[in-house]
């Protein structure tokens, strides 16, 4: 792409310009036999098991940030949503809404990231669509991805499967993505290496499902928007039990903690894009932890709490000084404080 080229309304017209964009950009990086056939829909071979289907839209600002960009999120987000039900992701759709004037160089950077993520996750884009809207009608680029996956017949993972006594594990540190985006937006530069944790989790999930005894992995959730606090509340609500977690056991990088202190934010409420919460039969918690820690995405995994009887739908935190407090779900966007 030349540096001065940008998206024109013609690129979304369906005519020659659209075809050029498809062949010179999308197929150049994302090509595979199903996408390359350029038919109106992708026809996929059937797979054994149950079908899982998920969709998500991505409108992040800024588009590029340390640790990823809107394209990496679009792949990892949907792949992870499928994985959280124990599905093996099969393929993705890719819908782009572009603002007139968006630099083609930036679009190429995003498409290359999408291609790289798809390749390393082994989940191809098999169908896609592009629309261009006049300047000011959207913010640079919006992406939607939908994904299909298959769940083995014997696998049943959901929030309602959580049981009293379950151990609660978190696959790594909290808040890296959320704080990276917020500090970038605020133009705050901090020392240290704040970076988004954008990552695909389906291989980690596949490993757990493969190695743990059948039926011992009860629940998986990826704590994206609303953070770990909100996901734990959803789990507590769904299984009508109390979640108890311990403050000292929560993994948080020191850069993230420092930034949270400055901005008056709580890492429990910050978004993650490459982490999952697991509820496991306590007899197999140690094994699950070791399995996770043996992978790159799960190397900082920790046992953070237990699911207990008691008031349903409640999350209680044992604090550093030995007290306890209730953790509520997120209300509205987290806002930085005055002082």
């Amino acid at each position: 792409m030349k540096t001065d080229e940008c998206v024109l309304l013609d690129h979304g017209s369906g005519g020659i310009a659209s075809q050029e964009l498809i062949s010179k950009l999308f197929l150049k990086y994302l090509d595979n036999p199903i996408l390359g056939s350029l038919e109106d829909s992708a026809v996929l071979p059937n797979q054994p098991g149950k079908l899982a289907f998920s969709t998500d839209s991505y409108v992040v600002d800024p588009l590029f940030f340390p640790g990823g960009n809107i394209g990496t999120l679009a792949v990892h987000g949907t792949v992870n949503d499928l994985a959280m039900r124990g599905a093996r992701p099969l393929c993705l759709s890719l819908g782009l809404i572009l603002e007139e004037g968006f630099p083609l160089q930036d679009l190429e950077r995003i498409i290359i990231s999408i291609a790289d993520c798809c390749k390393s996750a082994d989940v191809p884009v098999v169908t896609g669509d592009t629309k261009v809207v006049p300047r000011g009608k959207c913010d640079k680029i919006f992406i939607n991805t939908s994904g299909i996956g298959f769940v083995a017949d014997e696998v049943s993972v959901s929030s309602t499967m959580a049981q009293e006594g379950d151990s609660i594990l978190l696959s790594g540190s909290m808040g890296d993505h959320g704080i990276t985006i917020m500090t970038r937006r605020a133009g705050i530069s901090l020392e240290g290496n704040l970076a988004s944790d954008s990552a695909a989790l389906h291989e980690l999930v596949a490993l757990l499902l493969d190695k743990l005894p059948a039926g011992s992995l009860h629940t998986l959730r990826d704590p994206t928007r609303g953070g770990v606090a909100t996901s734990l509340n959803e789990i507590a609500e769904a299984c009508d039990l109390t979640v108890e977690i311990t403050e000292q056991d929560l993994p948080v990088h020191k850069e993230v903690r420092a930034a949270c202190e400055i901005m008056g934010l709580d890492p429990l409420y910050l978004a993650n894009e490459g982490k999952c919460l697991l509820l496991v039969d306590p007899k197999h918690a140690e094994q699950a932890l070791e399995l996770m820690q043996s992978t790159n995405v799960g190397r900082e995994a920790a046992l953070i709490g237990t699911l207990t009887a008691g008031k349903g739908g409640r999350v209680v935190l044992r604090t550093g000084i030995g007290g306890s407090r209730v953790i509520s779900p997120l209300h509205g966007e987290p806002l930085p404080r005055i002082c």
Partner: protein, 361 residues
């Protein structure tokens, strides 16, 4: 993290809690003045550990909460004017005014609102949007005022014309005096605000000891800091020997920060100020001096404050005075929640209602 982890450690907290248990020999009531104290007490789960007989009430030290509805109405009006941009600290974004509106609503209808992290960021906005008047919402106590005074000074020195401040700045001792003059409020001691005291000095509370026989201890914001301050308060109250003590010596001196005070005095002068819940309190606010009138948005845009009614049923006034707990409010947790706040104490991350809602039982 240094200065944080050690003050949040059970190893330090436990002996302090035992000491507090021993020091509380009769029931007493302490007001924690500052919203950051309120939040830290809740976040650390300290309420579940405090000895019986020690009653903590929250005071008027959350700057967002005490901003009056008339001020919020005026802010929303300014946001809706042509060629204005509002720069503000995040907490203010969702505060409702009296007319069923908030800056969040105004923003959804096209008003230009920028959340900034430092007042100085609004000067960058002024450079970026030369055709707009950037109005910075000056909200806060002595802790935030010096930074805003420095920003006005910088705008003055750099001759930045399209920048002005809406000053609702407040100062700390006067509202405490107004509260203490109220015979309904029975308190034995004050947990004095750490960061305000860093500017005004621990000595600023001596008149409260002299006039009201009140125990005053300046405390830091980490759990161990607060526990230490409570131990000192409990001992003073048990002995019946009220005085000012400083439990936050790593930050606060007796005299305060003369340089910051001087800068504030250069830009601002004392003014009467309306407080949500407390009404008009003489000399409890700061107005921009005539020398810097160009940066005073009320003069620049001729903004007049209109009397505004508090939301019906809202008990924020009584809560800010420490007279009632949030749970006594008929709206609490029903119509008024952090996602849809009616009163200001529910909006701010440091508001008492928000703390009760988020962390309460």
């Amino acid at each position: 993290m240094k200065y944080l982890d050690e003050f949040r450690d059970q190893k330090l907290a436990e002996p302090l809690l035992e000491e507090l248990q021993r020091a509380v020999t009769k029931p007493f009531r302490v007001m924690e003045v500052c919203g950051t104290h309120t939040m830290s007490i809740f976040r650390s789960g300290m309420r579940s550990l405090l000895p019986e007989g020690l009653d903590l009430v929250s005071g008027p030290g959350c700057p967002v909460c005490v901003t009056s509805a008339s001020h919020i109405d005026a802010i929303i009006e300014m946001a809706q004017m042509e060629n204005t941009r509002i720069a503000l600290f995040g907490d203010l974004f969702r505060v409702p005014g009296s007319k069923n509106s908030s800056l969040a609503n105004a923003s959804s209808q096209g008003a230009h609102i920028d959340i900034v992290y430092s007042a100085m960021d609004s000067l960058d906005l002024a450079r970026k949007y030369p055709k707009d008047l950037i109005i910075f919402l000056g909200v806060g106590f002595e802790t935030t005022t010096p930074g805003i005074a420095a920003t006005i000074m910088a705008a003055h020195n750099q001759q930045i014309d399209n920048f002005a401040v809406f000053s609702t700045h407040k100062v700390m001792p006067p509202p405490l005096i107004a509260l203490l003059d109220d015979p309904d409020l029975q308190i034995d001691g004050l947990l004095c605000p750490g960061h305000v005291s860093a500017i005004i000095g621990a000595g600023a509370y001596q008149p409260l000891v002299d006039k009201y026989n009140l125990s005053c201890v300046v405390g830091g914001f980490e759990p161990a800091d607060i526990l230490q301050a409570l131990v000192l308060l409990a001992r003073q109250i048990a002995k019946g020997e009220p005085k000012v003590e400083n439990a936050y010596t790593r930050v606060v001196s007796w005299e305060g920060n003369a340089r910051a005070t001087k800068m504030v005095d250069e830009i601002f002068e004392p003014a009467d100020m309306e407080w949500r819940g407390l009404g008009m309190i003489p000399a409890s606010g700061l107005a921009i001096r005539d020398k810097y009138a160009h940066f005073d948005v009320t003069k620049r845009l001729d903004i007049k404050l209109e009397p505004a009614e508090e939301p019906k049923g809202c008990r924020c006034g009584e809560i800010l005075k420490g007279k009632e707990q949030p749970t006594a409010c008929p709206l609490f947790g029903k119509r008024c929640t952090p996602a849809n706040p009616i009163g200001p104490c529910m909006v701010s991350s440091e508001g008492t209602c928000a703390a009760f809602y988020k962390y309460g039982d």
